[in-house]
Every structure is written in structure tokens, then in C-alpha cells.
Symmetry: C4
Subunit: 196 residues, 4 copies
């Protein structure tokens, strides 16, 4: 069976869009006269929300781009893609942990869980790409070798970068989240992937 990529994209787009939009459910504030102060103190929630939303958005962009290089999918690829989506769809939970615990007693555990999720996501994305790219297994005939190498350059550092964030989380949970934000805001959109 060699299905095309149309509904593969539809299901993936759906999970990306829903996971990003569910992030907002992390926010809560008790009604009352102190609401203004409380909203200002929610800054860890805003930081975690922006970081996760941007990351999901940009991984969706990258996913899109690489799917456009494929000419077909197979059963194994669909399975790896489901595993990748499983980690994307999980992201609202560690995002909520960071939102609720940053600058609190549980901040280290929260930042570690957050970073670990990104490590897993980056690793699965690399496996996803490696499977499709090996001997041009699922690559469309018209895709150039230089386009493949551009993706290699963009995907390989992912696991390493998020692994570093994981180590940083042991020393400074806040720094770990800020670096994750910076990766989404500065590194990912300018990744080698698009520099062709």
C-alpha cells in the first residue's frame, strides 16, 4: 500500500492546530478585586503559552515543508507520524506545568518535563525524516539532493539543542524556558531548512 499524502496532511494539520489552541486552557485566574495584580503575576503562563504556541507553529511549518518533499507514504511512516503527533498533542500538559510552577517549588521538575517533551519531539522528528530520506525511500522524484541536505542541516541540531535545554533546566528552570522561547522565535524560523 502506498497511500498519497493528502489525508496524512489533514490529520496532522488538525492535531497541530488543536494542540496549539488547547494551550489556552492552562490559564486560570480567581475572580475578585485583585484580578489586575493576579493577571500580572501570570507572566510564567504567558511565557509558556507563547513558547509552546510558537514552537508548535514553526514545527508545523517544517512538517509542511518536509511533507511537500515526499512523493508517497507507507505504513511505517504513518506510524512514526502518529508517534510524532502524540508528543505534539502532549505539549499542553508540560506547558501547564511550567505555567503553574515557574518561580514556585516545583519549577525544576516542571522545566525538566517540558524540556524532555521537546527532546522526545525532536528525536521523533529526526527519526521521521531519517526514515523518509534513507535511500530516498519516500522522496518525490522531483526533489533535489540540496533540498534534502537543507532539511538535514535543520533537523540534526534539534535533539542537541533541546538536550542542552534539559541540562540547563537542572540549574535554572527559568533560563531553560527562555532558551526554548528563543529557539522558537529566532533559530527555528531562520533554520537552514529555508536558507536555500
Amino acid at each position: 500500500m502506498e497511500p498519497g499524502t493528502a489525508r496524512f496532511e489533514a490529520f496532522s494539520d488538525g492535531v497541530f492546530a488543536i494542540a496549539a489552541t488547547l494551550l489556552v486552557l492552562e490559564f486560570s485566574a480567581a475572580p475578585g478585586s485583585d484580578l489586575g495584580t493576579e493577571l500580572l503575576q501570570l507572566w510564567p503562563s504567558y511565557l509558556a503559552y507563547a513558547t509552546s504556541f510558537l514552537t508548535i507553529g514553526i514545527i508545523w511549518m517544517n512538517h509542511n515543508h518536509t511533507v511537500s518533499l515526499l512523493g508517497r507514504t507507507d505504513r511505517t511512516m504513518l506510524f512514526i507520524n502518529i508517534l510524532l503527533l502524540l508528543t505534539i498533542a502532549f505539549l499542553p500538559f508540560p506547558t501547564k506545568l511550567v505555567a503553574q510552577n515557574l518561580k514556585g517549588d516545583g519549577e525544576q521538575a516542571a522545566a525538566l518535563a517540558y524540556a524532555a517533551t521537546f527532546v522526545l519531539m525532536a528525536a521523533l522528528h529526526l527519526i521521521w525524516w531519517g526514515y523518509a530520506r534513507k535511500d530516498r525511500r519516500l522522496i518525490a522524484n522531483g526533489t533535489s539532493e540540496s533540498a534534502l541536505r537543507a532539511v538535514d542541516r535543520a533537523y540534526l541540531p534539534g535533539v542537541l539543542m533541546y538536550g542542552t535545554v534539559f541540562v540547563v533546566a537542572f540549574f535554572s528552570p527559568l533560563a531553560a524556558v527562555i532558551i526554548t522561547f528563543a529557539i522558537a522565535a529566532f533559530y527555528l524560523p531562520s533554520a537552514a531548512l529555508f536558507d536555500r
Copy 2:
């Protein structure tokens, strides 16, 4: 890289539809014999729900219309679009704040947060449009100048209108929400955008 606009639309449509549908989660009512009275006292929730749902719906219409004028997207445009979607997807939270605090102690803070979200959204939408329109950067060849000017006339007042709502929220939170509703119900659907 100059990707087309197909999956750009799919992801955007997804976030708009999900954000609008998640608004319903703001509602809650304790079971019991006073349920009827409680449902009537939920009027701030109904007002906030209708205001946010209509606004999202009409911004989706406008987004649709302007995307149809584009001939291509680029990396920067995708990034700005993700920022715009980030504010759309955030809307369920300030909507809930208004629903829970209107006519309560926290009503000013809630209305300010609500209006600030709309200001940010309108500003990002203006940047989104300005980027695409500058020197017809991403505009399709077949799009007329008058169609572009119609969008200009519709998008420029947005920041100003929601900025006014923000100021009104200092004096009367309820009036601020009602004006936001009126903008969605009367101004936006009849905007210059469509008057051609």
C-alpha cells in the same frame, strides 16, 4: 521558498474554528434548585461569548478575503500569521475573565485584558496586511489596486477602535464589552472591505 497558500489556510481555519468553539468552556453553573436563576444571572457570559464568537467569525471572514488576494506566502508572512493566530487562540481566556468578573470586583481588570487582546490582534492583523501589501510583495497579479485600498480602509481603523474600547474600559467595563459586541455585529460585517 515561496509556498502556496493552501495549508496556510487549513492551519488558520483550524485555529479560528477551534478558538471559537472553545469559548463555550467558559460557562459553568452549579447544579441545584436555583439553576434557573443562575442561568439568568449568567448574562455576562452570554454577552462575552457572543462578542468573542462573532468577532472571531468575522475576523475569519476578513482573513479569508485577504488571503484570497495573495498569490504566494513567504517565511516572514507565515511567522506573522502564527503570531496573529497566537492572539486569536488566546481569546478564550480574556473572554472567560469578562464572563466571570463583569459586574464584580475584578471587572475593570477583566475588561482591560479583553480590550488589550483585541488591540494586539488588530495591530498584528495590520502588520500582517502591511507586510503582504508593501510593494505588492505577496499580492497576486490579478488583484486590483482598488481591492487593496478597500482592505486598507477596513483594517486601518481596527487598532484605533479597539484602542478606544481600551480607554472606555477604565470608566465602564460593561460599556467596553458592549462596544466590542457592536463592532462585531455592525461595523465589521459592513466594513469598507466588502463595499466595492
Copy 3:
């Protein structure tokens, strides 16, 4: 402006699918040794879930069918459609009210809110159809008059049926919910709409 119906369908499909899937969030059960008993006592939740899910599913079928008869949309039609979707997206709240209050003190208020939502939905669906059908305003050229009359026969009784459910809810909330279920399970799928 006479946009086509493609993204109109995409946004509508999204709201229908999300509203139906959010219904599951009404369910909750406290952990513990009495879980088995508690799950059996949740029967009002199962009834409300099945009723709302089936109704949304079948209204989606009907919406699909009638959109396929259209040749174009206009601004007013998009606005009416947003109002219709606003009531569809609201359904998870009255569904939760029924689930939590049936056979409790608040059951009458819950059933009235539930029925009122369906009355509003049926009325908006009728307005939606009436606007498109008047003088064949938005109807595709190839659509036969008999196809239009079949939709008339299916949509006209909707408001009346749900209005009757509203009246029944004053006397027996449970009966009102069961009749709503029966409409979704027996009447709607066999509606005149499809009997051609």
C-alpha cells in the same frame, strides 16, 4: 463580493466536529471504590451526550446537503452562518446542564435551556435556508425546484418540533430530552430532505 463555498464549508465542518467532540468534557466521575455504581448513575450524561452528538452529526449532514445546492455565498449568508455556528458551538453547555441536573432539583431549568438552544438553532437554520432560497438568491443554476421543496419540507417542522419539546420540558424534563433524542435518531435521518 461573491465568494465560493469552499472555506465556508471548511470553517463550518470544523465547528461542527469540534462542538461534537467537546461534548465528552461534560463527563466526570470521582475516583474511588464506588466508581462502578457512579458510572451507572451517569445515565443522564450518556443520554445527553448521545442526543447532542447525534443531533450535531445530523444537522451537519443537512448543512452539507443544503450547501451543495448553493452556487455562491454572500456577506449576509456568511453572517447568518456564523450565527448558526454560534448556537451549534454553544450546545456543549446546555448538554452539560442536562447531564448534571436530570433527575435533580435543577432538571426543569436545564431541560428548558437545552430545548431553547435547539429552538434557536432550528430558527437560525430556517432563516439561513430562507435567505439562500428566496428568489433562488444563492442557489446553483443546476439545482432543481423539487430539491428545494424537499429541503423546505425538512426544515419547516424543525422550529415547531423543538418548540413542542420546550413546552414538554415544563411538565417532564426527562420526556423532553428523550423526545429530542428520538428526533435525532428517527426523524432527522429520515427527513423529507432525503426522500426524493
Copy 4:
């Protein structure tokens, strides 16, 4: 009326993607210094999440494949499909029950509810397929008999397997969940469906 399968697929894809993504809402952890320990003790939640997500993902793959064998749909098929989606969309609730009760007092009831949902889902999927396949009622002309028999071989054991899981849940709730996971991870992706 013999509608095509396009929006049938769109609505189904939406419900599958949303149900899978809502699973994450089962997770919760109280903020505090014990967060690390608490996150480790959440293993039943991780197991239930992975099991349900994988199962939904693979049932979506199978659903996709079988829809691709169809040439048309009819009203009855749409109705059966809505019932199937009703059970898919319900899955987040029993998943949450398992997550909260495994290794607790309510674990047997939770595992039974979980298994019963899968039995119902498999039975409806079999009815769905049986209806389409009977006398090639909805099968596309180009679909071979061997492709149909491959689906038969894959779908028939479903009810039996999940029925066995239901029986196992009486004796060992944990074993029942692990077998469900194993079915999703090992049996379903390698099912006869694709072995052609």
C-alpha cells in the same frame, strides 16, 4: 441521494484528530515541591494516553484505507459513521477513568468501562464495514475482491480481541490496559488489512 466521500472524510478526520488531542486534558498535577515524584506516579496516565492516542491514530489509518475503497456513501452509511464517531469522541472519558483509577480502588470499573468502549467501537466499525461491503453496496468499481477480503480479515478479530480484554479486566485491570496498548502498538499496524 448518493453523496461522494469528500466531506464525509473531512468531518471524520476532524473528530479523530480532536478526540486524540483532547486526551491530554486527562492529565493534572498539583503544583508544589513534590511535583517530580507526582509526575513519576502519573504512569497510569501516560499508559492510558499512549494507548488511546495510538488506537485512535491507527483506527483513523484503517478508516482512511477503507473509505478509499468506497465509491459513494448513502444516508444509512453516514448515520452508522456518526455512531462510530460518537464512540471515538467518547474515548477521552474512559481514558481519564483509567488514568485516575488504575492501581486505585476503582480500577476494575475503570478498566471495564475502557474495554467496553473499545468493544462498542470495534462492533460499530464492523457494522460500518459490513454495510458498505454487502453485495458491494458502496464499493468503488475498481476495488478488487482481494482488497475487500483483506479488510474482512483485519476487522473481524477486533470485537473478539476487545471482548477478551473486557474479560481480562475482571481479573487484572492493569493487564487489560497493557493488552489494549499492545494491540495498538503491534497488532493493528501490522493487521491483515495492509498485508497484501
